[in-house]
């Protein structure tokens, strides 16, 4: 078991540095130590000005996406021991501008995400805004988009995508996978509106299925699959063969059910 671990960190302060540079730090190793734990230790012992984003420490918030030993991943979700290397090289996510040190500028990614309307669009706006009940959806219909809804928008897939690296117009795997997630949701009827973006330059057409986005996703989402399925949907749409079912209806209230004696009423709805 190693005693110390060496970190190589790419630093960049736009107010001070012309170009990014690498610094090396050695810190004591502890069993179960994550890359994020190491960064905190370096900040405590060596570099108080070191900057990165992190929040939940449990692979949920998607803040701490970084390039770790050449592969995009979450710092909180990557243990030093699993890297099987004596040195941990940490750099900000590629394909994004750097704000400082390990902090990438994710605003362009979220702009592309927003442009694809990543939310349920329905014509019955009143029911959507003030729901009287749930929208009915079968388990099979849920399965069609469930894995894509696990995306935490960490940007690792965008950093790994060779097409996004060179094509500024391309939306990238995260926004496209999320557009597909909503296009596939039976509660949604927004395909025609999203198509305004998807059918043009920003759509899935530049993807040539390198598959790196799916390989690096820390949540096991498969954006490459979403993009291929989206291409199929768009081709079928052009040929007028795409099936657009009726949007999921409001679930009927159960009938002929009697409340057992002594069971209290549900609390009042808060949203």
């Amino acid at each position: 078991m190693m005693k110390d671990v060496t970190y190589r960190i790419r630093l960049y302060d736009p107010n001070r540095d012309a170009v990014p540079h690498w610094e090396t730090y050695t810190i004591p190793y502890a069993a179960g130590m994550t890359v994020l734990d190491g960064l905190w230790k370096i900040k405590e012992l060596h570099a108080p000005g070191l900057a990165w984003r992190s929040s939940c420490r449990m692979g949920v918030c998607g803040s701490c996406g970084m390039l770790i030993n050449g592969k995009p991943g979450l710092a909180c979700n990557t243990q030093v021991s699993e890297l099987k290397a004596t040195t941990v090289a940490v750099a900000p996510l590629p394909n994004f501008d750097i704000i400082r040190d390990l902090v990438p500028d994710l605003a362009p990614m979220f702009g592309k995400h927003q442009a694809l309307l990543p939310y349920v669009i329905r014509e019955d706006v009143e029911e959507r805004e003030n729901p009287s009940a749930e929208f009915w959806q079968s388990a099979h219909e849920l399965e069609q988009y469930l894995q894509f809804s696990y995306c935490i928008k960490c940007g690792c897939c965008m950093a790994a995508c060779p097409t996004f690296a060179t094509d500024a117009l391309y939306s990238g795997p995260m926004p496209l996978a999320q557009a597909h997630r909503y296009n596939t949701d039976t509660r949604d009827v927004g395909f025609a509106v999203r198509k305004e973006v998807l059918a043009g330059n920003a759509g899935p057409w530049r993807c040539h299925y390198a598959g790196e986005c799916s390989r690096v996703c820390p949540k096991g989402v498969d954006p490459a699959k979403a993009i291929q399925l989206m291409k199929r949907e768009l081709v079928l749409d052009l040929l007028h063969l795409r099936k657009q079912g009726c949007p999921a209806p409001v679930a009927k209230m159960p009938t002929e059910i009697k409340r057992r004696d002594g069971v209290p009423d549900a609390p009042a709805r808060t949203v």
Partner: protein, 128 residues
């Protein structure tokens, strides 16, 4: 706005056409001995590249049409693929337009030349 959706769908369709007509080419020229289809080579006792079969195919309006369709599909499929590769070099918007225009003109020019050759060959073969 829908340009890429259309172009990519045509790209897929052209790929299917190429697979179909290249299959026909293989049947006619390379595996005729294994799968003899009399309609493809009139003189089945002779090779596909022998004079009688070449002239027979040249006289056929069906074959002349397949040459033109295959040429169009191959040109579109190949040039659209080339366009995508060139666009990955991240040219400026103006250069993209130039690339698109050059490839379109090259495609139309080659298609016109190839169509003329196929029709001229067909007319020539009919004189024999």
């Amino acid at each position: 706005m829908m340009k890429d959706q259309k172009l990519w769908t045509w790209h897929l369709a052209a790929g299917a056409v190429i697979a179909l007509f290249l299959g026909l080419h293989m049947l006619t020229m390379h595996v005729d001995g294994l799968i003899p289809i009399r309609a493809l080579n009139v003189a089945s006792d002779q090779r596909a590249i022998d004079w009688v079969n070449v002239v027979a195919r040249g006289k056929s309006t069906f074959f002349a049409l397949t040459y033109v369709v295959l040429l169009g599909a191959a040109l579109f499929h190949g040039l659209y693929g080339l366009r995508n590769i060139l666009f990955e070099l991240n040219p400026s918007a103006g250069l993209k337009k130039v690339v698109g225009a050059v490839l379109l003109l090259a495609g139309l020019g080659l298609f016109a030349f190839g169509t003329w050759a196929a029709v001229a060959g067909h007319m020539l073969a009919r004189t024999f």
